[in-house]
Symmetry: C2
Subunit: 158 residues, 2 copies
């Protein structure tokens, strides 16, 4: 006698929805992992094609996932450290749209004048600051010194 039901209490509709989510997430995480490994080789493209047909991924969605991955700074950083520079070219080509996006006009609302004003003030303030490439890195000597000073004065870093 089975004491417990072997299956969960889910309707067919729920199951279909969850399966679709699993398929989409699996494809997405695979594209991320392959992008982080470096260049898009022929074998990887073949692998993605096989997988796309098994997981019912359309060409359009495949391209969208590739665009997401190729524009991801974290994945680009990993690829640069692991496989060297300039690994994104083939990925960028793979993800290219067949029909480019239509340019959209900036919407005009009652707050546009105020928003423009604030944006200009913020941009003027930002222009006085050094660009992020010239600021401290988290593992630099300077950062270590700051951390030491904060620690001996009992100040918590944010």
């Amino acid at each position: 006698m089975t004491m417990w039901p072997m299956l969960l209490d889910m309707s067919r509709d729920e199951c279909k929805r969850i399966l679709r989510r699993l398929e989409l997430e699996a494809y997405s995480s695979l594209v991320s992992a392959l992008r982080a490994q470096g260049e898009l080789s022929k074998e990887k493209r073949k692998l993605l094609q096989d997988l796309a047909s098994t997981l019912n991924i359309s060409m359009e969605r495949h391209r969208a996932e590739v665009r997401r991955a190729v524009n991801d700074e974290k994945l680009a950083t990993i690829a640069e450290h692991i496989a060297g520079p300039n690994t994104s070219t083939d990925w960028a080509i793979e993800g290219r749209r067949l029909i480019p996006l239509m340019p959209r006009l900036v919407p005009q609302t009652a707050f546009t004048a105020l928003a423009n004003n604030v944006a200009n003030i913020a941009a003027a303030e930002n222009a006085k600051l050094p660009p992020p490439v010239n600021t401290v890195k988290k593992n630099s000597k300077f950062a270590v010194h700051i951390h030491f000073l904060l620690t001996i004065h009992g100040i918590e870093e944010c």
Copy 2:
């Protein structure tokens, strides 16, 4: 002039760790999605093999992921609803351990007598209740009636 750094401030070591995590997660979610689709076909096994070599997944880890998926009630429920009954046989064979786990003795501690006592009392109480297979399902007529009664009396369901 680039205003922003194009790459994130991560060390090579961090990158290697994140890449490994991405590879493992991608393989894991793919095994889940394929298991939820139903039986393990020849094509799916081939696909998993190709992917395992690309993502540096060992045979042992592949088997462990398959065992995780085949013992997952949610994935089993989805497979049953989508592809029909008895889809787990080939998956179970694929995930089988080459060397069975050693049986482990139940540890004896100062609390063993007390724990056994409580377990026996709880089991006796549970034996008086109907088994879960015979209890109400969330979409059954009975459940809808209960929900209606609770609603008209302004009682919140937990």
